[in-house]
């Protein structure tokens, strides 16, 4: 038998194959000079699958069982069972990139449908079949801005209120493109459009705004932001998420050139930050899009068929002149998002988004009644989440809430942030009581 569990070679087979190749043992096939060959031990003890399941179950059991009121870019919604059962089908899960479209029509069509979902949600005509996550999608948007607006400068403007990690990723992409990231101020949770207008000049290649913002605020003056960007000949990149897009202003209608963001709120359960990056844009930038695109075509019989297309943008053909280095992406997560969206239909998706608005408002009202807490901090409409100002220091309150079984964000010295979705909406009574208890 093989010494490795997933190879089928019996001893006889191995012997026959070695003999066919003309060597005595597998060692003879390796051409590694002795001075760099490894003959030590890695020290990894093999286990049975049952042992590993038990081991990992023990390890994960060390996570505390908290009710999470967490968001800020990673959201948990209920994922219908059918999403798991269908996406786990081996023909999807264990397939590779669709280099041979004739035997990959299933996944190609699913990705084409995913792109179409994003086209409908953004109003933009082009959506790729996924980026890693919202942060890397934003980074890629900046490199696109660099390519298409490179004559005009090297500054990328982002809101002052932005998730730190997202900005850090953006800065790494900007590093390679010799771009500089600068913030523009926000006022009561929304873009300070006047200040932004003052700042935008020839040196700005891109203006980024989010709707909803990292604080959960609906951005009320998107069109004005878009106008400022357009006036400055800067790319207007809008960040959002797949659920919010079902009800918020259509990005195309406010002049967005590119939409980035997260689609993992559909299809993926809470997964320690694993994501699904959206990248959509106007036709103008079609040949500048990073990542993979599925297009419709015909086969030799004249039947409709799908294929990866515009691959000359990609690294495996264009090498250092590619629009991005991305190849492996989040295709399977996109499939899951598409299935989840299908289970909801437009009515279900709009309901879900509206519930995110209603639940956030209702919870903010209740927390506002807790003595020593003010919510929401910003006088805006919110989607899912909102900031809470607390009179006492926020960090110990966060710890006390954790001791009561709840996780919330600590986002400032006296600021917490709370996110409510269908998954924890039935626990808001307990959360409010815990706030009452610990403040």
């Amino acid at each position: 038998m093989s010494g490795t569990p997933y190879a089928p070679h019996t001893d006889d087979e191995t012997a026959a194959m070695l003999s066919a190749v003309g060597v005595d043992d597998e060692e003879a096939l390796f051409d590694i000079p002795p001075d760099v060959a490894f003959d030590g031990e890695l020290g990894i003890e093999p286990r049975t699958e049952r042992e590993i399941r038990a081991e990992c179950s023990r390890i994960f059991g060390r996570n505390d069982d908290l009710t999470e009121f967490l968001g800020r870019g990673h959201y948990g919604h209920y994922v219908p069972s059918v999403v798991d059962h269908l996406s786990d089908r081996a023909e999807f899960l264990t397939s590779y990139t669709q280099y041979q479209p004739e035997i990959s029509q299933g996944f190609l069509q699913a990705l084409f449908e995913y792109q179409s979902l994003l086209v409908e949600l953004t109003g933009l005509p082009v959506a790729n079949c996924s980026m890693y996550d919202a942060a890397t999608a934003l980074g890629e948007a900046a490199t696109l801005a660099d390519r298409v607006r490179s004559t005009s400068g090297d500054v990328v403007l982002v809101p002052g209120q932005l998730r730190e990690g997202k900005r850090a990723v953006l800065e790494n992409y900007c590093d390679g493109a010799d771009l500089t990231v600068e913030s523009y101020p926000t006022t009561d949770g929304n873009a300070d459009v006047d200040a932004l207008a003052d700042r935008v000049g020839d040196d700005v290649v891109m203006v980024y705004a989010e709707n909803p913002t990292v604080r959960g605020c609906v951005e009320e003056r998107l069109e004005a932001v878009g106008d400022v960007a357009a006036d400055g000949d800067a790319l207007f990149v809008l960040g959002s998420d797949v659920v919010s897009l079902a009800v918020l202003e259509e990005p195309a209608s406010v002049g967005a050139d590119v939409v980035v963001g997260e689609a993992s709120a559909l299809g993926l359960p809470t997964a320690y930050g694993m994501g699904l990056g959206i990248f959509a844009c106007s036709d103008e930038f079609l040949r500048q899009v990073p990542g993979r695109l599925v297009g419709a075509s015909e086969d030799a019989d004249g039947d409709r068929a799908f294929t990866l297309t515009l691959q000359t943008r990609e690294q495996h053909i264009r090498k250092e002149r590619a629009t991005s280095n991305i190849c492996t992406n989040q295709a399977w997560v996109a499939l899951r998002a598409a299935i989840h969206a299908a289970t909801l239909g437009p009515a279900g998706l709009v309901d879900l988004a509206n519930d995110c608005v209603r639940e956030a408002a209702a919870l903010a009202d209740r927390l506002d009644e807790v003595r020593g807490a003010t919510a929401p901090v910003h006088d805006r409409h919110h989607v899912r989440e909102f900031a809470v100002r607390v009179d006492q220091p926020a960090a110990p309150i966060g710890e006390d809430l954790e001791a009561e079984g709840f996780a919330v964000h600590v986002v400032g010295e006296h600021l917490l942030q709370v996110c409510v979705t269908d998954l924890n909406a039935d626990r808001t009574d307990e959360l409010v009581a815990a706030f009452d208890e610990v403040i």
Partner: protein, 462 residues
């Protein structure tokens, strides 16, 4: 038989302004999407899946892609609801996830012969970018402003794109006659501007860079770093470690080497390993043991490059990789390499196509000679297998880059060889007309690109 688009099964339009608690000027007007019932959804995706090749359907010998069997139990491990926590949770309340991250870091460091590992990069290309950004930070930290990355012509396209994304100029190194790095050419190419040499080893035709020690010396002597592209690590598992060969930084493709499912294009994960000198530049946060509280903690490396993913990377994929490595252990890993190499050599022996370079390891680039490699590949579809990667790398004319991996047995390889040989020997007419036995016949890629239709909206009215 074609499956209609979901949109063709009936769309519904919802008036959003009617429904929303938000003021009308903050909402869209309406939303139009398909509204299928659950049975319709189940059938739609079941039928679509039935039109898709997969490793569970048969051999998938794409060179450089390492399409292994994805052990089913790793799915169950990753589905543990206790592991499904939010990334912003406190250290204290997520000791389980931190422990698994730490353990996987340690596994990977050991396998690569590296000193520190980050799990954050969400794919191989993201790992490359991370590694090159770490390289850049290292040089900048030491006051070296280096502008070039040297890459062999035979390297994966990603290497070139990565170097460019990181802001480097690319110096392309032509292959030596034997298909390996030409040491003299390397010496000529490397200099004060060299930030790094990116190398795949075994390279993309499966050849081990025998002169690796000399290569490492040349690069290091010039002050550059040596980057290991982990795409072909499967050939070396337990038998050679990049760290022992002089590599300073490397990425791991866990969706290749460590058998996590590729999911039709992703998600993967591209952890990056580095030697001690580079550890302080890794992305934040890293995970380490905290002896004081006998647990695990996050920390920010002193000169971290910051972040390469919004959160902690592709968590579910990483969990599966942990489970796979633990399943194999030392012996399983090194025998996986042995069987992968044996399989490639056996298959090469069985096919009628010429294989110009050797001795190769886990993959080989056969040449279709006078035939068009892409056409031969299409004809192979008719014999019930997935063909290899075609027309790449360019150093082999009409290349068919083939990597069977360790999971195929002798009879499966014999079937694959037969498909190769039948297709290769077939008539021009047959090759032109191929594939003829697949659900779709040959698909017109040119018109797809010339007239891009990228959504069902774009098809409306056709």
């Amino acid at each position: 038989v074609r499956e209609p688009l979901l949109s063709e099964k009936g769309e519904e339009t919802v008036d959003v302004t009617d429904e929303s608690p938000l003021p009308d000027d903050l909402t869209r007007d309406e939303l139009t999407l398909p509204a299928p019932s659950e049975p319709e959804i189940a059938r739609h995706y079941t039928r679509l899946s039935q039109m898709n090749w997969a490793i569970d359907a048969g051999p998938y010998p794409l060179g450089s892609c390492t399409m292994k069997y994805n052990p089913k139990f790793t799915e169950d491990v990753a589905a543990d609801p206790n592991a499904a926590v939010h990334p912003d949770r406190s250290e204290r309340s997520t000791q389980g996830n931190l422990e698994l991250q730490y353990r996987l870091q340690e596994f990977l460091a050991e396998i690569g012969g590296m000193d520190a590992v980050t799990l954050q990069p969400p794919a191989g290309a993201a790992g490359e970018l991370t590694g090159i950004l770490v390289t850049k930070a290292y040089h900048e930290h030491h006051g070296n402003d280096r502008s070039e990355v040297v890459i062999p012509a035979s390297a994966h396209g990603t290497n070139f794109a990565t170097a460019a994304t990181a802001g480097y100029d690319v110096v392309e190194l032509p292959s030596g006659d034997d298909g390996r790095v030409d040491v003299e050419a390397l010496e000529a190419a490397v200099g004060d501007d060299t930030a790094a040499l990116m190398l795949t080893n075994p390279n993309t035709v499966g050849l081990f860079e025998r002169d690796i020690t000399e290569i490492a010396d040349i690069v290091h002597d010039a002050g550059g770093l040596l980057y290991y592209d982990g795409a072909n690590l499967n050939a070396l598992l337990g038998r050679g470690r990049p760290g022992d060969m002089g590599f300073d930084v490397m990425h791991y493709n866990v969706h290749k080497t460590f058998a996590t499912p590729h999911g039709g294009g992703g998600p993967g994960a591209g952890p990056v390993g580095v030697v001690d000198e580079l550890a302080e530049f890794l992305p934040a946060p890293q995970v380490r043991e905290n002896e004081n509280v006998s647990g695990y903690e996050r920390f920010e490396p002193d000169h971290t490059i910051g972040k390469v993913h919004g959160f902690t990377g592709n968590w579910l994929v990483l969990v599966k990789a942990y489970a796979y490595i633990a399943r194999l252990g030392d012996e399983g890993l090194s025998d996986a390499a042995a069987k992968a190499v044996l399989n490639a050599n056996y298959l090469a022996e069985r096919i009628d196509l010429d294989v110009p370079h050797g001795p190769f390891h886990h993959e080989f680039a056969a040449t279709a000679g006078e035939r068009d490699a892409a056409d031969v590949a299409k004809r192979m579809l008719d014999f019930g297998v997935h063909p290899p990667t075609t027309k790449w790398p360019e150093m082999v004319p009409e290349a068919m880059l083939t990597e069977p991996t360790e999971i195929e047995g002798q009879s499966s390889l014999d079937d694959l060889a037969e498909a190769f040989n039948l297709a290769y020997a077939d008539t021009d007419e047959a090759l032109d007309a191929a594939p003829g036995r697949t659900a779709a016949s040959r698909i017109d890629q040119v018109s797809a690109a010339r007239n891009p239709r990228l959504s069902w909206q774009a098809l409306d009215g056709e």
